[in-house]
């Protein structure tokens, strides 16, 4: 699962990342998969859904499922305020909203500076991280979106 997305950029030497904050940790996603960023609106809860599934919101007429990333990464449940942000990402054929605390930055990271996650990453989020890098002394995790949102979550659940 390491770098099938990275090979897309093989002709570039850098990966552009959107970084954001979840709890106290900093994560990022490949900017190519980001569709838009929007403010938090209340989601309509879906019955009998997984705990991290916050529900669905109306994105210009489309039904957009929202994943509470903190909950998904076992950091805790996000207490939503107006300052929370939804990052709309494209995963395969579907769009999903990721509920995060705040968007931080857009970064260009040389591919050479990305490292695969160590086998024994301490926290439970390990399986959702496909690469690590260090930016200004802080650790930045690059999310594996396919792991965050398996296709057809509902039917599988």
């Amino acid at each position: 699962m390491t770098d099938q997305t990275m090979t897309k950029h093989s002709d570039d030497s850098e990966l552009e990342l959107l970084s954001f904050r979840v709890g106290e940790q900093e994560y990022s996603v490949d900017i190519m998969s980001v569709r838009e960023i929007r403010g938090w609106t209340r989601a309509t809860p879906l019955p009998h859904s997984a705990g991290y599934m916050r529900g669905v919101i109306n994105l210009r007429g489309a039904v957009l499922p929202i994943i509470d990333l903190a909950c998904r990464l076992s950091i805790g449940v996000t207490e939503t305020t107006e300052r929370n942000v939804i990052i709309v990402v494209q995963i395969g054929e579907t769009s999903v909203g990721l509920l995060v605390d705040a968007v931080s930055d857009i970064l260009s990271i040389p591919l050479t500076e990305l490292q695969p996650p160590p086998d024994m990453l301490s926290d439970a989020s390990a399986s959702f991280v496909r690469a690590l890098t260090v930016v200004e002394g802080r650790m930045l995790r690059v999310l594996d979106l396919d792991a965050v949102h398996p296709q057809k979550e509902g039917t599988a659940a």
Partner: protein
């Protein structure tokens, strides 16, 4: 850009469906006694067109079957075969097989070869004659017109002496002399010569010697011939191919490495028998070029202007009106004076060997007369242009379904936006007579009209569906040995495309049931004083904003004592229950019920009416049953016109807004705790009018909250399923009744238990649309393990 051939291929299969539909219609009309030749023609053309398109895509099995079928239809068309009942049944079956092959070809699947072969040999047997490969369909349509008599005398080129050693070997000499019929057919020597010269390096010489003097000139007759000296690698066959269209209406000689010298054979039947200085009865002038030069100036100038090497430059195509023989000469190379002819000598095959160059020789007189060119051209006597037919088919546009769905979605947006706007206006406290409110009112009306119109785009007539059912009836009746007639009404009724597609399976099952179980055997029918032939009626109609389909038979009706017995023996109901007729009839919908004591191979396929019912409910529909002993059974299906909008009741449960389909709600009540009885295991029932209905808290069932301790003051929606199973759903409050636009959850998320879809309300929030059947079945699944099953009302 996508592959245009792939698009045409896809379009071909759509056309096939239309043609198959026309074929079905035509056959049905023929079966009903319609002997109009156009009816038969329509059937013939449908098969013929399928064959034509199939050939284009190399669909050989389809071509083969269609060809045989077409051959038989042609016999009918030509009056050689008048089909009896059995033949008509064969035609229907052949149409079924044809549509199987069409679909198999489309989907890259295989068909039942044995059925194809059987039908093929039956068709062959019917046609009587073994099918000829070249059997042609157009025979009977054809009205022959007078045709130029073949004057071809030049095929035997071996007899031609080699004339000219000066010409380099390797050259092929082609002599080409058109008949008048060639011009009448619309062929143009100039283009033919050009096509020949495209095969290599050509030198073309024209023999004008046959042109009579102007005053004797028949402009419709042919007076010219050409010799082409061709340096080419092309074979004689290649050269002959160029002249394929004019085979028989010209003289053509092809002679490798020698200049053919056969005389031009001219269509001179109408020429005067004397020509100025050409001697008596001699159509060929001594020196035709001289004669030509005596023509009027314009003609002379034209000829002069056209002299030049064909291989270098070619003049503009001649005006079509000038395309008669004498008027459309191609440019010609230095034409030597033709050899004086032995006038009057009737020696068509003997060339005069006296010519001194590779020049054509004007020699032989015509061997036979040629009909007047005007006659051959169908000229002045041709019928006047027929008046435009009044029965033009309605023009239609084919549109990609995706585009329509996009439009449907956009209109959905419009509806939602408009609802949001209304809400804002209301919240702003504007009086209802304010211009804004009134304008909004009109806007709402417009929106509703647009929505209806857009929904109509997706609507399609149920006819193709009904035609599929007529096939089911035919097959089913053969399988059980009954004679059955299907009567359809309301084929033009339009329903949403998706609804139609999803109706096919349940309808098929019900039709099979009607033939298999509904209708009595022949003997029993006769005993009961009915006609031997059973009747199944399939109707469709619009009724108060819904589509109602009815499937009825004129059979014996539901055998209620037997149904009851079966239900009891299978443990589906408790013994000794008091049941109304309609309640007994509804037992048919219970899972695991099958009335046939001997399971026939037809409808006993493990699919029961319960599956039919859930399919109908999945479409937001209801199904009802009515039966009269001795006279038959009717199933009525009521469906929404579209799957895109839904009439719903907007409710609140545990603080969440939900939409309950209006069709599922029987009544609404306000709840007192005194009406609730506990049945253990935390389950409650509502005591309502001497019956008990399971009470469900919607918020709890959806996992939104813990079960409340008191329901006092809550609102209850009494929900019913088609089998009469009821449930009482507790909600906090009822907000409003309104139409909502359905947004699928399946694509973006997947299936949610108890939820059918989502919608967007006026405040922009998403509300979930409840699926009461799914909700209740989930609960029933849980309930069966813990609580005793609740009996039917009573």
């Amino acid at each position: 850009m996508s592959d245009p051939m792939a698009e045409i291929r896809a379009s071909f299969f759509i056309e096939c469906e239309e043609l198959l539909e026309a074929l079905q219609d035509g056959l049905a009309a023929m079966e009903g006694g319609d002997t109009d030749s156009e009816t038969i023609n329509v059937c013939f053309r449908a098969v013929h067109s399928i064959k034509g398109g199939a050939g284009a895509f190399g669909l050989e099995s389809l071509v083969r079957f269609a060809h045989r079928y077409e051959t038989v239809m042609d016999e009918v068309r030509a009056g050689k075969l008048s089909p009896d009942h059995d033949a008509m049944m064969l035609f229907f079956r052949a149409a079924d097989v044809l549509s199987d092959i069409v679909r198999a070809s489309r989907d890259g699947e295989t068909v039942d070869e044995s059925e194809v072969e059987t039908t093929l040999s039956q068709l062959e047997a019917l046609a009587g004659d073994p099918p000829e490969e070249d059997d042609e369909a157009e025979v009977s349509d054809f009205q022959p017109m007078s045709l130029a008599i073949d004057l071809d005398v030049s095929s035997d080129t071996d007899d031609l002496p080699a004339l000219d050693e000066a010409d380099a070997p390797g050259k092929t000499f082609v002599r080409f002399a058109p008949h008048a019929a060639l011009f009448a057919s619309g062929n143009e020597p100039q283009h033919l010569l050009r096509s020949v010269s495209a095969l290599g390096a050509a030198e073309i010489t024209c023999d004008e010697s046959a042109i009579p003097s102007l005053k004797d000139l028949d402009p419709e007759a042919a007076h010219l011939s050409w010799t082409i000296a061709l340096e080419t690698d092309a074979s004689e066959t290649d050269i002959r191919d160029v002249f394929d269209f004019v085979d028989g209406i010209c003289d053509l000689e092809i002679n490798a490495a020698s200049a053919p010298s056969a005389p031009p054979l001219l269509d001179l039947g109408d020429l005067p028998s004397t020509i100025d200085d050409g001697g008596e009865a001699a159509p060929f002038p001594e020196a035709a070029t001289d004669e030509a030069s005596t023509m009027d100036d314009a003609q002379d100038a034209q000829n002069g202007a056209r002299r030049g090497r064909l291989t270098l430059s070619i003049s503009e195509p001649a005006e079509p009106d000038a395309a008669s023989g004498a008027m459309s000469q191609p440019p010609i190379e230095d034409t030597p004076d033709p050899e004086p002819s032995d006038a009057g000598e009737a020696a068509p095959t003997l060339p005069t060997a006296k010519s001194d160059a590779a020049a054509p020789v004007a020699d032989t007189p015509p061997v036979a007369a040629v009909p007047t060119p005007s006659g051959a051209a169908g000229g002045q006597d041709a019928p006047a242009k027929p008046a435009s037919a009044a029965s033009q088919p309605k023009p239609t546009v084919r549109v990609d379904l995706e585009r329509i769905d996009r439009l449907v979605n956009l209109v959905g947006e419009l509806v939602i936006n408009q609802a949001m706007l209304s809400q804002s206006v209301q919240e702003a406290g504007l009086p209802s007579n304010s211009p804004v409110s009134q304008g909004l009112e009109e806007f709402m009306q417009l929106t509703r009209d647009i929505q209806d119109s857009v929904m109509m785009i997706r609507a399609q007539p149920v006819k193709p569906l009904f035609q599929r059912m007529s096939r089911i009836v035919r097959e089913a009746s053969v399988a059980v040995g009954k004679r059955v007639r299907l009567v359809t009404e309301g084929e033009g009724t339009e329903v949403d495309k998706t609804v139609i597609e999803r109706l096919a399976d349940p309808l098929t099952h019900m039709i099979r049931n009607a033939v298999d179980h509904g209708l009595e055997s022949r003997e029993k029918r006769v005993e009961a004083g009915k006609s031997e032939e059973g009747k199944v009626t399939l109707t469709a109609a619009h009724r108060s904003g819904r589509v109602v389909l009815e499937i009825s038979d004129d059979g014996g009706g539901i055998n209620r004592p037997k149904v009851r017995e079966i239900a009891e023996s299978k443990g589906l109901i408790a013994e000794g229950l008091t049941l109304s007729d309609s309640e007994i009839d509804n037992l048919l919908f219970l899972p695991g019920f099958s009335t046939a004591s001997q399971v026939s191979d037809l409808s006993g396929r493990g699919v029961g009416m319960d599956v039919v019912r859930s399919a109908i409910q999945g479409l937001g529909g209801r199904i009802n049953i009515a039966s009269e002993p001795g006279s038959g059974t009717t199933f009525s299906i009521s469906l929404p016109l579209t799957l895109a909008v839904l009439d719903g009741m907007v409710v609140k449960a545990a603080g969440e807004t939900l939409v309950v389909p209006l069709g599922a709600i029987v009544e609404t009540l306000s709840l007192q705790d005194t009406e609730i009885r506990s049945v253990g295991n935390g389950g409650n029932v509502l005591h309502i009018r001497d019956s008990f209905v399971p009470l469900l808290d919607l918020g709890t069932e959806l996992g939104y909250r813990e079960a409340p301790t008191s329901y006092d003051g809550s609102v209850v929606l009494l929900i019913t399923q088609e089998d009469g199973t009821r449930a009482a759903l507790v909600v906090d409050s009822i907000e409003e009744q309104r139409q909502v636009v359905i947004k699928g959850l399946q694509e973006s998320y997947g299936h949610v238990p108890g939820i059918a879809a989502a919608t967007i309300l006026g405040d922009g929030q998403i509300a979930l649309i409840l699926d009461p059947v799914d909700l209740m079945s989930n609960i029933a699944g849980r309930g069966r393990a813990s609580a005793p099953p609740l009996e039917l009302a009573g």
